[in-house]
């Protein structure tokens, strides 16, 4: 939480004080190292083995009766056309639309909220900040329960929509894709042949165009609702570093509020913006709690996500190899985004020496 990160912080002292430090150092870090090693590193290695095996859930996966099957579990998911592969493709498609919609929406909304709340003369600043942040502290399970109620057929949301003459869908039971619904409005009910006969990951291009289902849309709104508060705080911290003098200078130069936002504030917020977007990207690929609590992948598999599918393949259908393979493909996707974030931030670090509080994740570097 301070500026002085890095391993250079402790200077060498006299050797008398150093005595016993080696022992103390290991003893102090032992609990953390052991627990993280046993419950994080070893499990990952074990699961990696399972993803290359035909283990069926009986006995130990390390026993002699379990066979090595190479990349079979992976190729089954990515290149074959069985049910497993089709479900996985569908889950990736669902999650893809979730990411594509949640990340820009949560970023834009949280930036908007931060700019509103950051107003220096605003009275009740604390109140508004609290109101916007509160959904972020509640558990995903509690929020999902609430969401299921708000979005029932005759629920709160549809009653409000009815005030404006809109007949709302039966959200969590409606598998209609938003994309397909829009195309149907344009008179395109059936996909053209070149879209239906080709595809990616066992899902035809036409089905990729379906967009998120109504059920998934409700979950997308929920993600925006619950994450915008956290992201807003990140932006607020960023805005405080921008400083007033820059704004005053721009104001004296005759820039309007709109110009000041686009030409001054936003460029200075770039590091925060990158952090928010990549955190969003990483988080959005991990949708699990909401699906477990709310929809279990229904209706018509339109809320199936890779994380949930990996769980149910392994724990419910006992196809551990395939479940583990899915988890590692997901891991791979997320690692790419994490690496991308690291790369972006590393390049920018020397340019922002003034940043006061660094996020812990960044201090770790």
């Amino acid at each position: 939480m301070s500026d002085r990160t890095g391993s250079k912080a402790c200077r060498a002292g006299s050797s008398g004080i150093r005595r016993g430090e080696a022992v103390a150092g290991w003893v102090f870090t032992a609990p953390v190292v052991i627990i993280l090693g046993v419950f994080l590193l070893i499990p990952v290695v074990m699961a990696l083995w399972v993803s290359f095996s035909d283990w069926g859930g009986r006995g130990s996966p390390l026993s002699g009766r379990v066979n090595f099957v190479g990349f079979d579990n992976y190729t089954d998911l990515l290149f074959e056309s069985g049910l497993g592969a089709r479900d996985f493709g569908t889950a990736i498609k669902n999650n893809f639309w979730y990411v594509v919609l949640v990340v820009p929406l949560q970023t834009a909304l949280s930036l908007f909220l931060a700019v509103l709340v950051n107003n220096a003369v605003l009275k009740g600043r604390g109140f508004f900040r609290t109101a916007f942040y509160f959904p972020s502290v509640t558990s995903s399970v509690a929020i999902t329960v609430l969401w299921l109620f708000l979005f029932t057929g005759s629920g709160v949301i549809n009653q409000i929509l009815a005030w404006f003459g809109v007949h709302g869908p039966n959200w969590f039971n409606d598998p209609t894709g938003v994309g397909h619904a829009l195309l149907a409005n344009l008179g395109i009910e059936q996909g053209p042949e070149f879209l239906t006969s080709h595809g990616f990951l066992n899902v035809s291009w036409w089905d990729w165009l379906s967009g998120p289902s109504m059920a998934m849309t409700a979950l997308i709104l929920m993600a925006v609702f619950t994450t915008s508060g956290t992201m807003m705080l990140l932006f607020l911290a960023g805005l405080q570093n921008v400083g007033h003098d820059v704004h005053e200078a721009a104001m004296i130069d005759g820039a309007t509020a709109w110009q000041r936002f686009w030409k001054v504030t936003l460029p200075l917020l770039r590091p925060t913006l990158f952090t928010v977007i990549t955190l969003g990207l990483i988080g959005c690929w991990q949708v699990f709690d909401q699906i477990y609590t709310g929809t279990a992948g229904d209706p018509a598999k339109t809320t199936l996500t890779p994380a949930y599918l990996s769980y149910s393949r392994a724990f419910r259908q006992q196809e551990w190899g395939q479940g583990a393979a899915m988890a590692f493909i997901l891991f791979f996707i997320i690692v790419i985004f994490t690496a991308f974030q690291r790369w972006l931030l590393r390049e920018r670090t020397p340019k922002q020496p003034k940043e006061k509080r660094k996020p812990a994740a960044e201090g770790a570097r």
């Binding site: 939480m1 002085r4 990160t5 391993s7 402790c10 200077r11 002292g13 008398g16 004080i17 016993g20 430090e21 022992v23 103390a24 150092g25 102090f28 870090t29 609990p31 953390v32 627990i35 993280l36 046993v38 994080l40 590193l41 499990p43 990952v44 074990m46 709340v117 003369v121 109140f127 109101a131 942040y133 509160f134 502290v137 558990s139 399970v141 509690a142 999902t144 329960v145 609430l146 299921l148 109620f149 029932t152 005759s154 009653q159 705080l233 991990q286 699990f288 709690d289 609590t293 709310g294 994380a307 990996s310 769980y311 988890a327 690692v335 509080r357 996020p359 812990a360 994740a361 201090g363």
Partner: protein
């Protein structure tokens, strides 16, 4: 003449600014209502009858006020058991993280020993592993160690977290070394120095760890799903999630479900309001979790 024009211009400016202020507040209040209203509906619905919850969802005042949902929750369901389990797990996890994270954070910040860089690298590697990927792996190890279906299986894997170690490490580094040098010269051991001199100075960081651990373990779901299937060990998140997905009952039961979700939100909400100021300034470090 010129002064009069200037005054009227200024008046226009003030008028415009006033309008902008009104518009800003109107917008903020509108947004705040969107953010708060769902929770008010939740409170109201938990006191409604089941038929009214369905027919009159939007109203904030129940026509027939009833505490039936709460009565059933506490008297004829396993809810009290779930609550107790959550309290046990959360207390142990929070205590464990406060102690082990600060211990390791201190060692990484201050003690010189061979292998410190290895530990550091391990922590960074661990932080980049997304939680969802750990579902199957954790289950495998927990079963292998034969702590499946036990409190040990629920608690021990959560007992430390890499992000917390970094928060403590960074804080310890901001404390001047001179503070503890005197104690070390006087012959105090590393643990003594850490425990009675440095740790009390790290109160803000400790509060941060408490908040993050409490919230994290109270709201944790996926780990509890894979670590046990014993009905006696169900925690609030898992219990309410199963209640919501209809695994345990029939009918919509919205007042009951919303009451359960509400009660499980209360401890975190209390923590939030007590440490509000602190939370607002630490969350930026917490997002990674």
């Amino acid at each position: 003449m010129t002064t009069a024009a200037a005054t009227s211009r200024r008046r226009d400016l003030i008028g415009a600014r006033l309008w902008r202020q009104v518009a800003l507040y109107a917008l903020l209040v509108f947004l705040a209502v969107i953010y708060i209203y769902p929770f008010l509906v939740q409170v109201a619905t938990s006191f409604k009858t089941e038929s009214e919850a369905a027919s009159n969802a939007i109203s904030l005042i129940p026509k027939t006020f009833t505490t039936e949902a709460y009565r059933r929750l506490f008297l004829v369901s396993d809810f009290p058991l779930w609550f107790r389990n959550s309290v046990i797990v959360t207390l142990f996890v929070t205590a464990g993280r406060v102690f082990f994270d600060s211990l390791a954070g201190y060692a990484l910040a201050r003690l010189h020993y061979r292998g410190r860089n290895v530990v550091f690298a391990l922590l960074i590697a661990v932080m980049s592993v997304p939680g969802v990927v750990l579902l199957i792996p954790r289950f495998l190890v927990i079963r292998q160690l034969q702590i499946y279906n036990s409190f040990a299986g629920l608690i021990i894997p959560l007992l430390v977290d890499a992000a917390g170690v970094f928060i403590m490490k960074n804080y310890f580094e901001s404390i001047p070394v001179s503070v503890e040098e005197q104690a070390r010269i006087d012959g105090a051991g590393a643990f003594r120095t850490f425990w009675s001199i440095v740790l009390p100075m790290a109160r803000p960081a400790l509060i941060t760890i408490i908040i993050l651990s409490f919230q994290g373990s109270w709201n944790e779901l996926s780990h509890f799903i894979v670590a046990s299937q014993d009905p006696e060990l169900i925690t609030l998140t898992k219990g309410v999630a199963q209640l919501a997905s209809g695994q345990l009952g029939q009918g919509t039961q919205y007042p009951l479900k919303l009451a359960a979700a509400l009660i499980m939100t209360i401890p975190v909400a209390i923590l939030f309001f007590i440490f509000q100021r602190q939370i607002m300034s630490v969350t930026e470090g917490a997002v990674k979790e």
